[in-house]
Structure formats: C-alpha cells, structure tokens
Symmetry: C2
Subunit: 156 residues, 2 copies
DNA sequence: CGGGTGAGTTGGAAAAACAAACCCACTCGG
DNA sequence: CCGAGTGGGTTTGTTTTTCCAACTCACCCG
C-alpha cells in the first residue's frame, strides 16, 4: 500500500507493485499451466484462501487475469491469463531456469518445459536488435526521467 | 518463513523465496547499476532501513550479493552482485520491458538500457536450442517430480 | 568541540499473513 | 427429502512483518 516512498520512477518497481506480492507469480504459474480454479490454486501455491482471494482480485483488476465461469448452475469459476499475463510467462521461465541453475544440484529439476522445437527449453534473454544474449557488461543505463543518479561503474 | 506449505516442488517458488520478498529485486537493480551503498539503497528503493538490512543479509547469505569494504577507517561498505546475482539481471530487464509495455503510455519509459550493439535494449526470451522467441503456445510442461498435476489445456 | 556522514540497530504502532471455521449454492446418493 | 460433499469464497482472531522515527557508534572535518 505504501509504495509511495520509492523515489525512482521505474518500470521494474511498477511491475513488482502488481505482481511482486507473495504468491502472485505462483498464481500466474498455475494459471498459465491451466490450473485456474480456486481450490487448485490454494493447493498448488500454498496461499491462504483469503490472501489468494485478494491476489486474484488484484490481478484481475490489473488486467493480468480474467475470471470466467466454466459452469453456471452450479456457478464455478476459472481464472485465465490475459495477453498481458501470458507476456509475463517468459519472466517465469527465466526465473525457473535461474532457480534450476543456482538452487539445485545438477539435473534435479522439478519440471522441464518442452519447446515446440522438441528440445527442453533453456530460455536465453537476447537483444531484439542484434540477437545476442544479454550480458551485464554489454548494458548501459540511460535514465530518461528525474530521480535517477547512476553513480557506479556498472552504468559506465 | 512459513514457506513450507507449497506442495509444489518448483524452482520458480524457490527462486521467489530468495528474491521475491519486497524490495529484494529493487535492491538487485540498484546494485547492478553500481549503487551499492546502504544509504543509496535506502533512497533509491524506498525500503525502510531495518528491512533493507534484513534483505541485504539474506541476499548475501544466498550468494546473490557480496559485501565489501570500499574503505577501512572509516569503515564503509558496498554491496555488489555475484555471478549468480548478475544472472538475475535478465529477469529484471524482462520485467522492465513488460512494465514499459503494459504499465505506461507509449514512449514514457523512465529508463532506457543501451545494448553494446548500439540499440536500445528490447529483451526477448528465446529458446537456446532453436533461437526462436518463447511463446506460450509453444510450451509443454513435463513434471519431473511428484506433486504436479497439470490439468489444463495450456499443458497439452 | 560541534556537526555531519555512513551503516546500521532498537522499540513500538500499524498492516499483512495465517489458520481454522463458517457460509452459500448447488449436486449426488440413498 | 435428508445428509454429505464440492467449489468458491468470507469471517474471525492470532501471529508475523512492515513501517517509521529515533537512536547508536565510529569516524572525519573545521
């Protein structure tokens, strides 16, 4: 709620204000997998029901999920990702790959994603202009708005 | 602390357990930009000082940041990303791009990252095997561990 | 000596998270 | 028609976190 303190205008901060709360990205993971019902989400994310209800409201309001009835009488609902929600999936894939690399022993992945090319997905973030992988040393920050002072060498 | 409820073994969940707490990724953003001193982090992320101290301890313990003195007498410290921390930068770039696309009006980006190729960075997550962009329709989930039941059509 | 800076720690109030119970509409089995 | 079960939540009361301001400590500067 009190997100007003960050003096940096920043799309990372703004994105995290929407999807950075606890469980939100896990909810998105499940919804992208097609497990979009309330009780599935409770079981698969581990979120308390009230917290989950709050997150779902927020994500729907933000246009990341939609709520649709998959049955009238009895009324039953399912949450699905919007276009915007699906566009967050690459973030999840990249995060999963990072976790697989750094948080587990070799080859102990809890889940493998297969790409349509037939191989196990290893996501690589590349530059749209030159197609080369994004490496820290190749990046230079250019603030466009006030509130930014990039002092360190990483920005040079 | 009570992260023990998620019945899904999942590298996304594990990664978020480390860097998913409030401010952690903003801290990483600043540290990657070279703004690694405590007071800079307070100012630029908006985190309360005590919370920031806790996050920094956690990130250092997790091997994502290191704390090094840039001056003895007076003792002054700076936090810097480790290799593992730098490998999270693509996640930040992808998230920033998502925020720029969905949370702002056309062309109102607070920051532009320049890639070494000379163009403004537009990160694209691609498949390492075939180099094509990762799209939701091209993905199939293959659980490797118990606890996973992927019911929906998105997994088919 | 007095003031200022960097890097935190401490203490108490306010906000979230948590767990369990409850509710409602409906369906199904007997 | 009764009782139990399911899906999708809300309510209630307790435990954790967060938040904020103030404080500390070590040091440097004039």
């Amino acid at each position: 709620m009190a997100a007003s303190k960050d003096p940096r205008p920043c799309s990372i901060a703004d994105a995290l204000a929407l999807v950075g709360e606890k469980y939100s990205l896990l909810v998105l993971r499940e919804v992208c997998l097609g497990n979009g019902r309330f009780d599935q989400l409770v079981r698969n994310t581990g979120a308390p029901r009230d917290v989950l209800a709050a997150r779902l409201r927020r994500l729907v309001d933000a246009g990341i999920l939609t709520k649709r009835a998959y049955s009238e009488r009895p009324q039953r609902f399912e949450y699905r990702p919007t276009r915007a929600g699906l566009e967050l999936e690459p973030v999840l894939m990249t995060l999963m790959a990072w976790g697989d690399r750094h948080l587990r022993r070799e080859g102990e992945r809890p889940m493998v994603i297969e790409h349509s090319c037939g191989e196990a997905l290893v996501p690589v973030v590349t530059c749209a202009a030159c197609d080369r992988p994004v490496r820290h040393e190749d990046l230079t920050a250019h603030p466009q708005a006030p509130g930014w002072t990039v002092t360190g060498p990483a920005a040079a």
